[in-house]
């Protein structure tokens, strides 16, 4: 009634009058409870006058019997949410609560009500509460003192945070406020199992840390506490202290830290020197970094001592000498401490490097062993990398600049050292030096490039040469002139020279040249130099007669691909590459496919599957990032080339015969193979680029894919068709095309010589539709499921499920703008796995394996988290699959079970008997991969609860003795790991 305004609160109070004044506290309690419930529902309708009376009434009730108090508090909570509360009432309510109620003797819920009243008032009556001064703070301290419930603590912590953040007067109670909160530090709380409130330890930690690190006023109390906890044995306490210290440094200044710096430093040093835990080390370094940053930030008054200097000098004093012992354990901890401090600010960096860099350079010359030099150079590298953080090198201050000559000579000496490990660090250092603008002089730079050329071309060790290529790639954009002027001509020369070397060496040198040309192409101006060199080389190889032609052409294509990827992000470079490379490759391919040239051996190599397959990624990568208008321009040339034989845009278009890949002639077999290049281009176009004569093209592709005898061509045509269908806008036209495809497929699938081609087409079209959730996809998938029962096509259809689920490298993936829904695998799983299971149970014995294989392909490609939640329902089938004799099924089943063992041990425990038996059986499989997988699963079994496993311990250990003597080392390795773990089961010290 009160809610819709028929009754006023006054009337309600009058009606309840008897109850409210009853002498029995229980009846009184019930009366007040009812009133409070009503108020909680309609506090927003109350008038100012009514509120005043109610507040006075409730305040007076606070002195009442303890049974009544909970309801009184609820009423006050309702009133605290009223907007019309007159000024002064909030203060009076709080005073009454502070005075009359002993909060910590109330129940958890009622304590929570008190906190809510305070929170409500703090958010709406901030000014009034501040009028109370420090009394309010003191009142609250008393309220929360002794609170134990995590739910209430989170609220109370929030109140304290607001007290500090909104600048309430703390008065003389700073220490009390600190005491009442810091007593929870470090938070030690494990949520009970099945906790419905979902409060994690981490919530409390962060909430408390926010308070402790919120004001410098706490510093004098907090820092000793942190040091004490840091010195304790408990890992979690150390971590929490370090993280809190780091947080504090954000707001502290010199004044707060001054007194504690020596003990903070000695604790941090001790931890880094002695700890076994990487986490603690990381946190210590972060804390040291924060401390140094904090000290460097502080503004100095003219007379005070600069703490930073003394702090850094104590660090230097304790760490510096360890740097001179590159074989000892403390060398790295010391270097890391120094680097953490040096990374804090430009000032700390100068201060530390001034002392450390000359020392390291001196040590490098003093120690002559490669391994020692490597350690020293790695430390030096760490400091150089920090310099990168400050950007350019400042002329006047930089220690580094003054050491330019010795640093360079140390790095260059590392490059000429025979030790590969030292070379690698040297190359890394080169990259860093190069990235420091203005550090290397032009003569140094030339020397750098010469060293890199030597490594890329002539270094025997592949690690060094790869590292050098990487360095080339990252330095080239900074110094494009030097690289295009010095490196590219050298490489070109090497490529052209026909030296009288042994054949093998020359080959690998050429490979290196090609790779280096790709690596250096990280700047547009360099790309313009390298691409012509690569294309020229490709043409030269094509005309040549050497036996290694195919391999060479593939290498050139790989280099071109790498260049294409490197210039994708740069619009101009991308268009240049596309315009130069695509027509050139097409022209060469068309030339090679001409009937005249097919009887001469050279040129033919270009049409080999391997070479065409290598060209596909080049064209694809050159196309995916084109701007739509440029892509449209290009597509208007390429499509007519294939449909009409329109060759005029090709660089050399003087062909003896017409190009008709979709024609009927006898000699077009070679030309048809070039559909692969069409696919690479057209399936990589952005989705909004219109393709001219698309319907005609689709029909030609469809016909080709069903009628061609060459599997390569047929598959490529099917993929190209699928790629286009996937991007085709939905609608009548698409449905017609698909109907046409189904009509062509069905008869050839049923019987005839081209059943395989039809299956391939079916697979690719299904994939195209599954990816975009097209309604027809379920119908096609059902056809596939049906084929699993076919004795001839069944195995191929089963393997096809892997094609459906896997990412395909050249078409139908996100990178080439295909329409791929993110959850398609899960959806496919839910739609089809029940059918697969059903099919398996109904199938004849000779085809059962097909269903298991299809199933395991689907499961294998499912994201692991989904797999773990879905698998338990399929577990019995999987266990059955373990007995299947097909090793593909065995392998994929084992790889499905492996994550389950680790992540769902409870469910797996139920089947421990079967699992143990089957895994142990499979450890003697004739296939090495199966033995390895079975042993890994046997290893993973140890993550099940120990009590479940102990009965099997003896048997497993005995059975695993046999694979210890397996003929394959890789199998033995797994057996050793698994058996060792089983030995530790249930044994002390695990």
């Amino acid at each position: 009634g009160v809610k819709d305004g028929r009754w006023t609160v006054l009337q309600l109070v009058e009606a309840l009058g008897f109850c409210l004044e009853n002498t029995d506290p229980r009846t009184r309690g019930r009366g007040i409870q009812l009133l409070s419930q009503v108020l909680l529902q309609c506090y927003s309708l109350l008038q100012e006058k009514e509120v005043l009376h109610l507040v006075l009434f409730y305040e007076s009730r606070l002195q009442d019997h303890h049974l009544v108090i909970p309801s009184v508090l609820q009423g006050l909570q309702a009133l605290s949410m009223c907007e019309v509360l007159s000024p002064g009432l909030a203060v009076s309510v709080l005073k009454a609560i502070f005075q009359e109620v002993h909060v910590q003797s109330l129940m958890q819920l009622d304590r929570h009500t008190v906190y809510s009243i305070i929170t409500n008032f703090m958010s709406t009556r901030e000014e009034e509460l501040k009028g109370l001064g420090a009394d309010f703070t003191f009142g609250f301290i008393q309220v929360m003192d002794g609170e134990k419930d995590p739910r209430n603590l989170l609220v109370a912590f929030q109140i304290v945070r607001d007290l500090i953040a909104k600048d309430y007067a703390l008065g003389p109670f700073v220490e009390e406020l600190f005491e009442v909160t810091s007593c929870y530090f470090p938070v030690d709380f494990t949520p009970p199992p099945n906790d419905p409130h979902g409060i994690q330890r981490e919530d409390l930690i962060l909430s408390l840390r926010a308070i402790l690190a919120s004001t410098p006023q706490f510093a004098e109390f907090l820092l000793p506490l942190l040091i004490e906890k840091l010195d304790s044995e408990l890992q979690s306490a150390k971590l929490d202290s370090l993280q809190t210290l780091t947080a504090c440094c954000a707001i502290y200044g010199q004044k707060e830290l001054q007194e504690f710096l020596p003990s903070l430093w000695s604790s941090l040093r001790r931890e880094v020197f002695q700890t076994a835990s990487e986490k603690i080390e990381t946190e210590c370094l972060a804390a040291l970094h924060a401390l140094s940053a904090c000290l460097s930030r502080s503004v100095l008054s003219s007379d005070s001592e600069d703490l930073l200097d003394s702090f850094l000098s104590s660090i230097l004093q304790d760490c510096r000498h360890h740097l001179c012992e590159p074989d000892m354990k403390l060398v790295w901890p010391s270097a890391k401490l120094l680097q953490a401090a040096a990374g804090a600010s430009l000032r700390t960096y100068h201060c530390i490097t001034r002392s450390v860099l000359p020392l390291l350079l001196e040590q490098y010359t003093k120690h002559t062993q490669s391994s020692q030099r490597r350690t020293i150079l790695e430390m030096l590298l760490g400091f150089l990398e920090l310099q990168q953080k400050w950007g350019h090198v400042e002329e006047d201050e930089s220690t580094l600049l003054s050491l330019q000559a010795p640093v360079c000579s140390v790095v260059f000496s590392a490059l000429t050292d025979p030790s590969v490990q030292l070379q690698l660090v040297g190359i890394k250092a080169l990259t860093v030096l190069g990235s420091l603008q203005g550090f290397l002089s032009s003569s140094d730079l030339e020397l750098v490039v010469d060293h890199l050329i030597r490594f890329t071309l002539h270094e025997e060790d592949s690690q060094s040469s790869e590292a050098a290529m990487e360095a080339v790639g990252s330095l080239a954009p900074t110094y494009p002139k030097v690289f295009s002027g010095r490196m590219v001509p050298r490489l070109e020369e090497e490529l052209q020279s026909e030296r009288e070397e042994s054949h093998h060496n020359h080959g690998s040198l050429r490979q290196r040249c090609l790779q280096a040309l790709a690596a250096v192409s990280t700047h547009t101006s360099i790309v313009r130099e390298t691409v012509p060199v690569l294309l020229q080389h490709l043409q030269k190889v094509q005309k040549g007669t050497e036996a290694r032609n195919t391999q060479d052409m593939v290498s050139v294509c790989q280099s071109l691909h790498r260049v294409a990827l490197q210039c994708q992000q740069d619009e101009e470079g991308c268009w240049y590459f596309h315009q130069t490379v695509v027509p050139c490759l097409l022209a060469m391919a068309v030339q090679a496919a001409m009937p005249e040239s097919t009887h001469t051996l050279p040129g033919k190599a270009l049409l080999e599957e391997e070479v065409l397959a290598a060209m596909i990624p080049v064209i694809s990568a050159a196309t995916t990032h084109l701007r739509p208008e440029l892509a449209a321009q290009s597509v208007s040339h390429v499509v007519p080339l294939f449909l009409d034989g329109e060759v005029s845009f090709l660089p050399q278009n003087n062909f003896p015969c017409s190009f008709q890949p979709f024609g009927d002639g006898e000699c077009v077999e070679a030309q048809r193979r070039l559909v692969a290049l069409l696919m690479a281009f057209i399936c990589s176009l952005p989705r909004d680029v219109a393709i001219p004569q698309q319907e005609w093209l689709l029909q030609e592709l469809l016909a080709l894919s069903c009628s061609c005898n060459c599997p390569f061509t047929a598959t490529t045509a099917a993929k190209c068709f699928a790629g286009l269908v996937n991007k085709h806008p939905a609608g009548q036209q698409l449905n017609e095309i698909l109907q046409l495809a189904v009509n062509r497929m069905e008869p050839s699938l049923a019987e005839g010589p081209r059943r395989m081609q039809a299956l391939t087409l079916l697979l690719w079209v299904t994939k195209a539709l599954v990816l975009r959730y097209h309604p027809l996809s379920s119908c096609l998938t059902d056809k596939l499921l049906g084929l699993l029962g076919d004795t001839e096509l069944g195995p191929a259809a089963a393997d096809g499920f892997s094609l459906l689920m896997a990412e395909s490298p050249d078409v139908l993936h996100k990178g080439c703008h295909a329409d791929v829904r993110i959850m398609f695998r899960q959806r496919f799983f839910t739609d089809n796995v029940p059918k697969l299971v059903q099919g398996f149970h109904g199938a004849g014995p000779d085809v059962k394996a097909n269903y298991l294989k299809a199933l395991s392909h689907v499961l294998n490609h499912l994201p692991k988290p989904v797999l773990v939640t879905e698998l338990p329902t399929l577990l019995s089938l999987l266990l059955e699959a373990l007995s299947c004799s097909d090793r593909v099924v065995q392998l994929s089943t084992l790889s499905c079970l492996h994550p389950l063992l680790l992540e769902a041990p409870q469910i797996m425990s139920l089947h421990v008997d079967t699992l143990v038996t089957k895994f142990l059986n499979l450890t003697s499989s004739p296939t090495m991969a199966v033995r390895i997988a079975a042993l890994r699963c046997a290893h993973a079994l140890t993550s099940l609860p120990t009590t479940v496993l102990l009965p099997y311990k003896g048997r497993v250990i005995r059975a695993l003795a046999k694979p210890l003597d397996d003929k394959k080392r890789l199998v033995r390795k797994e057996a050793v790991a698994a058996r060792g773990e089983w030995f530790l089961l249930g044994s002390p010290g695990r």
């Binding site: 700890t275 012992e325 354990k329 004739p926 890789l970 002390p988």
Partner: protein, 162 residues
Amino acid sequence: MVGPGAAPLENANPLIYRRSGERPVTAREEDDELHDAIDDREIFDAHLIRSINDPEHPLTLEELNVVEQVRVKVNDAESTVSVEFTPTIPHCSMATLIGLSIKVKLLRSLPERFKLDVHITPGTHASEHAVNKQLADKERVAAALENSHLLEVVNQCLSARS
């Protein structure tokens, strides 16, 4: 006195050595048909004696140079393995324990046909002879492993590093 934390470290800043990388897998090893013999590196590596933890430091025996691949000798045909280990300091009280850990590790991970010999590199420990004798005595090794406190420390050395 066993176990870290019980007393000040005997050797607080030991020399440390670089770990050798993972053994690269060769094409031959991936061929299902061929037989790979057990070699020194495998004992050192796959049988993981190099990654046994030192009882005193959070370091492996390899990092402390207590075991080295050159001091591991195996003869697959004759089924014998011999491992020499070098305590970090001549008076190292952990020598027996380290030897025991190596021995247990090998017992657990080698085929039964192998005959094991674990001993201290000659001339590197004060009571070399006594330790060797203990390690060679089958019954004493078995008895040591009955002692659950000792077994606990050995197992800790053999547990994979977290």
